[in-house]
Amino acid sequence: MTLQEIRNEYLRTGTVLELPRLKELLETLEGPNRLLCRRLILFGEGRPDFSDSESVDLAMRRNSRLLMSRLTDLTLRQ
């Protein structure tokens, strides 16, 4: 899986896949990809850094999707 695919999977399910591989990958990355990889590792370890605005944004997008995935809209049945 690519870094973007792992990110998308996190947004979809809330789970960070391939965490050991991400840790190995971290050393080889640079720039925004390295930052994203680091964020995903921290999410995967259950200790996200909410002083980082990008982490906050990622978590909020994830929670917004989670809310929608658990929602049953009963108004549509009327």
Binding site: G14, P48, F50, S55, V56, A59, M60, R61, R62, N63, S64, R65, L66, L67, R70, L71, T72, D73, L74, T75, Q78
Partner: protein, 307 residues
């Protein structure tokens, strides 16, 4: 598009144990903030949410009984929080926390498949007055609130009550099933035939599950002599109610005696109860939950852990 907040009419199930109502849900990095901060829930705790229109109700068939009771408990906790914020008073003093009684107390202990349309709470009078005037409940389960005086004719129920904790950490007292039985025997006859249709079955199930001894039942029935005192006949509605209450209690107790203590008459029970008025208090039979009903204690402990 990922929305940062949602408005409308929502019900949210938390860990499938509690259900809360919200009209605004703000998405936060670590979960959801409901109605501007009244309650915050962790994202992983959200197990389901339903959106309804203002004229719709959430079908109760979507929830299990335990969730409904949890919803009523949480409703009470949020109400206490609001009461404290508005009046600067606590909803209860430490030793007098709200009591869950009636069918819900049985559903949380010995009759796990027991279902009920409402959850009964006894709460302090000040809080009760405020709640009736100011609080609009969550709307999941009908919550019946009454003052502690509802137990005026019960025995030493306080010493046998156990505790459950709500989602917000409030401690509620849970009436012991045997005391719920004693309380059900006070059911007034005109009360929609509830004694015939619901209470008798509940009482039989509690008796079957716990098998309390003959002596324990006699002790429970005779603990409070006030129960058997003939009411003073006063003119008006209150006098009629007192007479009807006494007459119903007598009829229900006679049924109970015939069913579970054959050989003992109502008059004999009255005599024993009234004799205890002059008996020294230490001669009253001890009915400690853990000493007399170990099996039930285990069940209650398990329920406490779950909650």
């Amino acid at each position: 598009m990922d929305l940062r907040f949602h408005t409308g009419h929502f019900f949210l199930a938390i860990k499938d144990e509690f259900v809360v109502k919200a009209e605004r849900i703000d998405v936060a990095p670590d979960g959801f903030i409901l109605d501007g901060g009244d309650l915050k829930i962790a994202a992983s705790d959200l197990t389901h949410s339903w959106k309804i229109s203002p004229t719709q109700i959430l079908p109760l068939s979507l929830l299990n009984e335990r969730t409904r009771i949890g919803g009523a408990i949480l409703d009470m906790e949020l109400c206490m929080k609001r009461f404290h914020a508005e009046t600067k008073q606590d909803a209860f003093v430490l030793s007098d926390s709200p009591v869950i009684f009636g069918a819900a107390s049985l559903a949380l202990t010995v009759i796990s498949d027991r279902t009920s349309d409402d959850v009964d709470f006894a709460i302090s009078s000040d809080f009760l007055r405020w709640r009736r005037e100011k609080w609009s409940s969550l709307g999941i389960t009908q919550t019946e609130t009454l003052p502690f005086s509802i137990f005026a004719y019960c025995g030493n129920w306080r010493s046998r009550a156990t505790v459950v904790s709500g989602l917000e950490g409030t401690t509620f007292r849970l009436m012991h099933p045997v005391d719920t039985v004693m309380q059900k025997l006070l059911r007034i006859k005109s009360d929609e035939c509830k004694f015939e249709h619901k209470d008798k079955r509940d009482i039989e199930l509690v008796m079957e599950t716990l098998s309390p001894s003959h002596d324990m039942l006699v002790a429970l029935l005779t603990e409070n002599p006030l129960r058997y005192q003939e009411p003073v006949v006063e003119p008006g509605r209150r006098g009629r109610e007192a007479l009807a209450q006494h007459s119903s209690m007598k009829e229900n107790t006679i049924w109970f005696l015939e069913r579970f203590l054959p050989g003992l008459t109502y008059d004999e029970i009255c005599k024993r109860a009234l004799n205890q008025i002059v008996a020294p208090i230490d001669s009253m039979p001890a009915l400690s939950l853990h000493q007399t009903l170990p099996e039930l204690a285990k069940i209650i402990e398990a329920d406490r852990a779950d909650l």
